[in-house]
Every structure is written in structure tokens, then in C-alpha cells.
């Protein structure tokens, strides 16, 4: 909790000045709170994932399942799929959009779940936040320990129903969404939306069948 002090002056401040001051303070505090809320969501997600990864009583399948559940809670797959499609979105019909969203969601959850296979006792240090003009907040983090020590990992967040959700993950300056968008555009341009969805589905099926 922060407290503010004010200097006493010979003239009492006008009601307008007090209102303006309070308004400004409220805006500043609201901004700080918003960023802190976003940061807390990332911190909780990272903590939960690390607890699962370090739990030796869980099998790899159980770990994968639990981590995928966290991904479903933390990510805004609807927005992520639209961001990944970008201008290709209009080339998909309503049914294809739903299919793409579902397969993309599955793909991201599976990708997130794969992290357990390469995990070797790294930690995550959540750092500062950066607020954007459109209301988004980016939470900045770093990998601590292991072979990726010092690698940056940032989460771009946006609210949905008053809850902060991740809409992009940026690892060492590489945005997951920008990367996926580039691939999607290439496939839609050369082979069309149906091929994109089929390829994504085949990839997910193969990944699910793969032994952990």
C-alpha cells in the first residue's frame, strides 16, 4: 500500500485542484495496479509450472496434462489465433476459423507441454512491466540457471472479462505470434486455408501420438 503526503500551503486548495489531483493519482495507481495484476498472473503461471516440473511424484504424462491445463487458463487462444491469422483471417470461412482456432489452441498447449521434456532445473525471474498505448501490458522475464541462463522471455497480456491473459510470448526478441503469422501467410498463399488447417491437425495428431 502506498501513502501520499502533501505540503500545506497558505491558501487552501480548490475543490477542482483536489479533484484533479485525486483523478491523476487514481489514473497513476490504476495503471500501476493493472501492470501489477498482469505481472501477478504471469508469476502465478510460472510458479505453478515450475512446481509441476519439479514434482518427481508425477509421471511425464501427468506433468504434460497439468501444464496444458495451465496453458488453457493463462492464454487467450481466441485472440492468439486471430493474431496469428492476421490478414489471412478473411480468407477462412466461418467453419475454417473455428477449426483453426481449435487446432491452434491444441498446438500451443502441446508446445507448452513439450517444455517439460527439455527442462533442466531452470527458474524464471519475473521483472518489470511495460504498458502499451492500447492498454496491453508486457511482463518482462529472464531464465535463471541452466543452459539458457539469462535468456529473455516476455509475455504480452490483454484483459478478457477483467482477467489478464497472455496473447503473445516473446523469447529472446522472437515473437511466437509473429513467427506463426509468417508461416501461416506462406501456407495460405501457396496452398490455401484448407491445407493450413489440415497441416496443423496432422502436426498435432503426430505430436499427441509421440511418446513423451
Amino acid at each position: 500500500m502506498t501513502s501520499t503526503t502533501s505540503k500545506t500551503t497558505s491558501r487552501p486548495p480548490s475543490i477542482a485542484a483536489i479533484a484533479l489531483g485525486l483523478g491523476l493519482a487514481a489514473v497513476l495507481l490504476a495503471g500501476e495496479t493493472r501492470a501489477e495484476d498482469a505481472r501477478a498472473v504471469v508469476q502465478r503461471g510460472a510458479d505453478d509450472v515450475l512446481v509441476i516440473l519439479r514434482d518427481d511424484s508425477l509421471s511425464l504424462d501427468q506433468k504434460r496434462e497439468k501444464i496444458e491445463d495451465i496453458a488453457y487458463d493463462t492464454f487467450d487462444f481466441e485472440r492468439m489465433s486471430k493474431l496469428a491469422l492476421a490478414r489471412s483471417y478473411k480468407k477462412l470461412d466461418a467453419d475454417q476459423r473455428v477449426q483453426f482456432k481449435e487446432e491452434f489452441k491444441r498446438h500451443l498447449a502441446l508446445t507448452y507441454g513439450r517444455s517439460l521434456e527439455t527442462y533442466s532445473d531452470e527458474g524464471i525471474a519475473i521483472g518489470n512491466t511495460r504498458e502499451h498505448k492500447n492498454g496491453d501490458v508486457t511482463v518482462l522475464g529472464k531464465v535463471v540457471g541452466g543452459k539458457h541462463d539469462g535468456a529473455t522471455i516476455d509475455w504480452r497480456m490483454r484483459t478478457r472479462d477483467d482477467t489478464w491473459k497472455v496473447i503473445d510470448v516473446i523469447i529472446e526478441g522472437v515473437s511466437l505470434i509473429a513467427n506463426f503469422r509468417s508461416q501461416v501467410q506462406e501456407i495460405v498463399k501457396s496452398r490455401g486455408p484448407a491445407a493450413l488447417i489440415m497441416q496443423l491437425r496432422d502436426k498435432n495428431d503426430a505430436e499427441e501420438l509421440k511418446d513423451p
Partner: protein
């Protein structure tokens, strides 16, 4: 001899001063890929070469060594690349980073036993990676089209030239002993590939088009290295604009 060294230092100092005063905007690297058909062939060739030779050797190295040793070797190789970072930072006008890198090299080469340990990092003297292609980009020299180099992978004409300069700058051990130079190059290659085993496998698993995945990742990473932390007012938020009600 001493006169020539002084001359070289004077040239470097002049370049650093010019770089520090430069107001040119850094050149943005793009995914412009007019040579895609040839690039894809080279990319496939590199991938086959990797799967046939480099990856199996790296897997062997990975199983024969401890991770701690591999990370220590990686640190020592980073230390040996000091001339690349020195010239990179100097030509970017990063005088503070040039001093930091010099301190790191002196500390890690001595207290850190030839760079196998990183006491400088423990004391808060953090590295600033820099290369010559990055300097060219910061000077505003355009990257040119995307280019896949045989064996070395994603690049562009500007960064390929920078890479050639960096190779000369890091040739110190080869000048002392060609055998030592070969051994160091070989160990560095295998050790780095071993440290990237999981990352490459993951990239292949998660990508829909591995070629485009690598091209985009290279371009994004290069822009981050060249443009650095983009000021808030210059961030293109349009990238994240979508209509929620569609």
C-alpha cells in the same frame, strides 16, 4: 611495428567516434526473400548435412560430457570471441560496453581460468554481445535479401560480410597454431550444436514450415540485436490490433 599498431588504434578510435556521433537510423532486416527457391535448396542441404553428421556427433558429445562442462566450454569460446565483441562495440560507439568487455576478458582469462568460468559475470560485469554485421546495420546499411549460407545457415549479404570480418577477427588461435585453431573451431562447433539439440528438435516439432520458421526467427532476432529495445512511442501496436467481435 609500434607505429602501425598506433595507426590501427587511431583508425578504430576515429570509427568509434564517428559511430558515437552517427544519427543514421538502424536498417531494419526484413523477410524479403527473392532467392527463396535457391535458399530452400541450401536450407535442405544444410539440414541433411546436420542430420547426417553434426547432430549425431553432437548427440555423442552430449552423452559423453556433463552439462556443466559443456557450459564451461561455451563460456571459454565466448571469451575467445572477445576481439569480435571489442570491434563490434567500438564500431557501434558503445564505449562503456567496450570497457566492460575488456574488463570481462582480462578477469575471465585470468581469474576465470582462460574463460572457463565467469567471475566477471558474478561480480555484475555483464557482457554485451556485438558483431560487425550488427555494426553495419546500426550504421544504416541495408541487409539485402534473405540468404541461406551453406553450412552456416540464415543470413543476408550484409551479415554474411560481417560474418567474414568476424571470422578474421576471431582467427587469433589459428595464427598462433593452425592445429590449435582447428581443434578450437571443431570443439566450438560440436559443443554449440550439442547445447542446441533440444532447441532444434523443438523448432522442427512446432513449426509448420521449418524454413519460414527459421527465416522469421532470424529476422526478428537480428532486428532486436540491431534496433535494440524499441522506445515505447515507436512500437508498432498495429501488429496486435484485431477486432474482437468478428
Amino acid at each position: 611495428m609500434r607505429g602501425r599498431t598506433a595507426q590501427r588504434l587511431a583508425v578504430l578510435a576515429a570509427v568509434a567516434a564517428l559511430a558515437a556521433c552517427s544519427t543514421t537510423r538502424p536498417a531494419v532486416t526484413t523477410e524479403h526473400d527473392p532467392w527463396e527457391p535457391t535458399n530452400r535448396i541450401t536450407f535442405r542441404f544444410n539440414d541433411i548435412l546436420d542430420e547426417t553428421f553434426f547432430e549425431p556427433i553432437a548427440v555423442g558429445w552430449d552423452s559423453l560430457t556433463w552439462e556443466y562442462l559443456r557450459l564451461s566450454i561455451d563460456k571459454a569460446m565466448l571469451n575467445l570471441r572477445f576481439p569480435v565483441r571489442l570491434v563490434g562495440n567500438l564500431t557501434q560507439g558503445e564505449l562503456r560496453a567496450t570497457g566492460t568487455e575488456t574488463s570481462r576478458f582480462v578477469i575471465n582469462s585470468t581469474v576465470g581460468v582462460l574463460g572457463f568460468f565467469d567471475p566477471a559475470g558474478h561480480w555484475g560485469i555483464e557482457p554485451r554481445d556485438a558483431d560487425f554485421g550488427q555494426s553495419l546495420g546500426i550504421w544504416g546499411i541495408p541487409a539485402g535479401p534473405y540468404l541461406v549460407l551453406p553450412v552456416f545457415g540464415p543470413s543476408n549479404p550484409r551479415d554474411a560480410f560481417g560474418f567474414a570480418v568476424d571470422t578474421v577477427l576471431s582467427a587469433g588461435p589459428s595464427l598462433v597454431s593452425p592445429v590449435a585453431g582447428l581443434v578450437i573451431t571443431g570443439v566450438n562447433f560440436v559443443n554449440t550444436r550439442a547445447l542446441l539439440l533440444a532447441a532444434v528438435r523443438d523448432a522442427k516439432h512446432i513449426s509448420l514450415d521449418y524454413y519460414v520458421f527459421m527465416r522469421n526467427a532470424f529476422v526478428q532476432r537480428r532486428n532486436r540485436q540491431i534496433i535494440g529495445e524499441i522506445p515505447e512511442e515507436e512500437i508498432d501496436d498495429d501488429f496486435y490490433d484485431i477486432e474482437d467481435d468478428e
